[in-house]
Assembly symmetry: C2
Homo-oligomer: 100 residues x 2
């Protein structure tokens, strides 16, 4: 199975943007810790934070602080975010059917 | 069949970048006039030119001036560009299989 990391290495001149990868991972996992997300995507904390803010303003993800023995920052996809990403992914699949 | 224009309207917060759309169209059509490409993608001439330069530097497209009753500017995908885009599209299709 192809992983996101491999995809990133191919054809940097036209690859999908980080927010696509963030939404893809959140769609599959529903919620991911900030640190895990940062490591999975190979982004700096500042860069991930920038993209998450954009997605949060668009109502697609939300940020939950969980109080445990140390504060945990967990990112969740919203219902609207999941619906919007699914619709987009299905359209993209349709477009990609023409590529053989 | 879904068209590129529709895709663009959905979820601007995470959609693919213009260079993906340029490569997609060039992969299917092999060569497209600059003006047609600009209109298909709804980009300004300056913006399209910027993206084409990036793709040209990466060796993925080439720019051909054709002398007719007026000079025509035609953009072609290179063999390397087509191979690279196909590989990327196939990986992306694999990733999108997980989205139901």
């Amino acid at each position: 199975m192809v992983e996101l990391g491999e995809l990133k290495e191919q054809s940097k001149a036209f690859h999908t943007q980080p927010r696509f990868s963030i939404m893809y991972l959140l769609f599959l996992k529903r919620r991911v810790g900030f640190t895990e997300l940062k490591d999975l995507l190979g982004l700096t904390p500042g860069n991930l934070d920038h993209h998450l803010r954009k997605l949060e303003i668009a109502g697609l993800v939300r940020n939950r602080k969980i109080l445990s023995w140390r504060p945990l920052n967990v990112i969740e996809i919203t219902e609207e975010g999941a619906a919007s990403f699914r619709e987009y992914a299905i359209s993209l699949k349709e477009l990609l059917k023409r590529i053989q």
